[in-house]
């Protein structure tokens, strides 16, 4: 009987890990569809950002209540995973709580801590569900999150965590009840801090029922974890992994600095100083300006899209969004991910990418959204996982203006004035120092 359970466990873990790695590789491939960009300078500053913004969740603490609740879920997620190690080793070897005899008195202490964390996770997730569905916090229930997949995704994640934590606590309570009965396979430990209070509910059950219950919770808990692990790459919850590389690779320059376009810089230079133009310039090379689709964005923009957990801090800080304009930085990120996933699926089926008549610009993100941005950097400042929606907006704007000559009349006039009068307004350059008189 035991050996069958062990074989089943090994097979299940193998499948879960195989599927997870396969999907993660696919996401890596999708991210690398983006333009190359070197973001490896100044490693010490990058490690510091990783420590502060990813591990320390610095930005979250702008709102301390939510930050603390989120920190519980995060710490719970990481620390309870130590317990998973024991569960996996038990599963493979067919033993039960194999760390208990090794760790002695430390064992119930550790499990106690895990139980406290599990309870904190449980409470936090319930509060989060209430905030989303009953209190309806604006950024969590409006705009792109009004319905459909984004709304369900958020709720599934919270429900999943609640179920997992409940199973963990129930498993421990049933275990304590069995220990008290002196059931043979159940090694004696000290009481666990939280589940001891659940144990009285289980004391009247027979040994058989309790073993069944304990085993059910054990299996459901570990299978639940495998399922959740494989749910991650399809969900906004992927931020639990990508927040770390995303913090590390975040741009280090002042936020006001826009990325330079070297090819245009050179174009202008050769126009002004033709003697500098390379003799063998390739006249046939087709230059592409700005971004029309996800391939034209940098890999960091694409990793940003996969790192977004749709919390909406960006959109609620966005001046355009707050005043009722169509622009929502969160939607920019969600659209980028949706488009990238669409392209990824096509590559999965056809082995290569073929034009499908759609582009990120226009089919996902509209001109009206792009035109509403004031480049104020509020979205970039807010993002707890170091995403820059602004960087994508600017690249799409470049494509609109330089490839499509698609800009409002007033902007065309402004461009004309700058070109002819060296100022965005129609004044004579001779009057530039007119204020001196």
């Amino acid at each position: 009987m035991h050996i069958l359970q062990q074989i089943l466990f090994v097979i299940l873990s193998g499948i879960a890990i195989f599927l997870f790695i396969k999907k993660i590789k696919e996401i890596r491939r999708n991210i690398l569809l983006g333009r190359d960009e070197d973001l490896s300078d100044n490693p010490s500053k990058r490690w510091r950002n990783l420590a502060l913004n990813a591990f320390g969740q610095k930005k979250m603490f702008k709102n301390p209540m939510v930050a603390i609740l989120h920190f519980f879920v995060y710490a719970g997620f990481i620390i309870i995973n130590i317990e998973i190690l024991e569960i996996i080793l038990d599963g493979i070897t067919g033993q039960h709580r194999m760390f208990a005899p090794i760790l002695g008195d430390l064992y119930p202490f550790l499990i106690g801590i895990f139980e406290i964390l599990a309870s904190a996770v449980l409470i936090a997730c319930v509060i989060f569900l209430i905030r989303r569905n009953i209190v309806k916090v604006k950024r969590l229930s409006t705009g792109e999150l009004q319905g459909g997949w984004p709304k369900s995704d958020a709720n599934y994640i919270l429900l999943f965590e609640i179920v997992l934590m409940t199973l963990f606590l129930k498993m421990n309570a049933a275990d304590l009840a069995l220990q008290q009965m002196g059931s043979s396979h159940y090694i004696q430990t000290d009481s666990f801090w939280i589940s001891q209070y659940l144990m009285p509910f289980f004391q009247n059950f027979s040994e058989g029922t309790l073993i069944g219950l304990e085993r059910f919770c054990w299996w459901a808990h570990i299978i639940g974890i495998f399922v959740f692990m494989n749910y991650l790459p399809y969900s906004k919850h992927l931020h639990v992994i990508l927040a770390f590389p995303n913090a590390f690779y975040a741009r280090l320059e002042p936020k006001g600095k826009m990325q330079n376009m070297k090819e245009i810089q050179n174009e202008v230079l050769y126009m002004m100083q033709p003697e500098l133009a390379p003799a063998n310039a390739d006249a046939n090379s087709v230059m592409k300006f700005g971004a029309r689709d996800v391939h034209d964005l940098s890999w960091k923009n694409l990793m940003d899209a996969y790192s977004c957990t749709e919390c909406g801090r960006c959109s609620s800080a966005c001046p355009a969004n707050q005043t009722g304009k169509k622009l929502s930085p969160r939607k920019i990120m969600m659209d980028t991910r949706d488009r990238l996933e669409e392209i990824g699926k096509q590559i999965n089926t056809n082995k290569e990418w073929k034009e499908d008549g759609k582009t990120l610009l226009h089919d996902y993100i509209t001109v009206e959204e792009l035109r509403a941005c004031t480049t104020c950097n509020a979205c970039v400042e807010e993002c707890p996982v170091s995403i820059s929606p602004l960087d994508i907006i600017i690249q799409l704007r470049r494509n609109l203006v330089m490839e499509e000559s698609n800009s409002p009349q007033e902007w065309n006039a402004m461009f004309g004035n700058i070109e002819n009068n060296m100022a965005p307004w129609k004044f004579s350059p001779d009057d530039r120092d007119g204020w001196v008189a």
Binding site: P254, I264, T375, N377, A378, M422, A423, R432, W435
Partner: protein
């Protein structure tokens, strides 16, 4: 008012301490010209040898770049860098945070390397070094004033304290807006919005920001940007509150207090 161009300095084989980058708004916009003159008054008062480029100055290209017109931006940058490098300019002070950001952050990789200082930081240094002293009983003493962070000094370049320290020198009662510093709300002009109508929405961004300003109960809202100044002025006028609150640049406030 003593204002000389870089060319004039060079003709006399002199080198000014700083180049004052006036910017298009500071040169042409009637309201922003007052800020330019106020800043010159301060420089004259302290006795700093400064130059302007005069007719040789051109738009930095900021609005073109942010609207998406990189070609035009590169053209402007090329021409400005040629001029600045020809004169061997080392130190630039700006009264416009958009010019500041472009000159400081975006010109270096195009070959324009200068020490670029915003007037907020420059004034703070002058005050700190004791070169700029406020007169007793200045017009802002004890008055309730508030400060609007421009996006291009604030979030874009993390300059939050310098302008506040400048205002503290006025001995007034400085109150913060409910959205300030990293949380500051944009005035609505950045990203080339200054040059076009707002997109469709419930309200204009400057009206939303003016709400914060009026709620503060201050009699002056200080800013550091000619575009913020226009936007806040419009917002105040639209609310018919011009008798209760004024929008002023920090340079104007200092110029009135020396």
């Amino acid at each position: 008012m003593i204002v000389k161009t870089y060319a004039e300095y060079q003709a006399n084989s002199e080198t000014p301490e700083i180049l004052f980058w006036v910017g298009c708004a500071g040169s042409f916009d009637a309201r922003a010209q007052k800020v330019t003159k106020a800043f010159v008054e301060i420089l004259n008062h302290v006795g700093i040898q400064f130059a302007i480029l005069g007719k040789e100055e051109m738009c930095t290209g900021d609005p073109a770049r942010r609207a998406g017109n990189e070609f035009l931006f590169q053209m402007m940058a090329y021409n400005n860098i040629q001029t600045l490098n020809m004169y061997g300019v080392r130190k630039i002070v700006t009264t416009c945070p958009h010019c500041f950001n472009t000159l400081k952050n975006e010109y270096p990789e195009l070959g324009g390397n200068y020490e670029v200082i915003s007037h907020a930081v420059y004034l703070q240094q002058l005050i700190k070094d004791g070169k700029l002293k406020m007169k007793e009983n200045g017009s802002f003493k004890g008055k309730r004033i508030t400060y609007h962070d421009s996006c291009y000094l604030g979030r874009s370049n993390d300059i939050y304290e310098a302008p506040r320290e400048v205002l503290q020198a006025l001995d007034s009662d400085l109150v913060e807006l409910k959205r300030c510093k990293t949380n500051g709300l944009c005035c609505g002009a950045g990203g080339a919005q200054m040059f076009k109508e707002d997109e469709k929405g419930e309200t204009r961004i400057n009206m939303e920001r003016t709400k914060d300003v009026l709620e503060s109960g201050a009699s002056v809202v200080a800013s550091n940007c000619p575009f913020c100044l226009t936007m806040l002025n419009d917002g105040i006028k639209n609310n018919e509150k011009e008798n209760e609150i004024q929008a002023l640049d920090i340079a104007e406030m200092i110029a009135k207090s020396i």
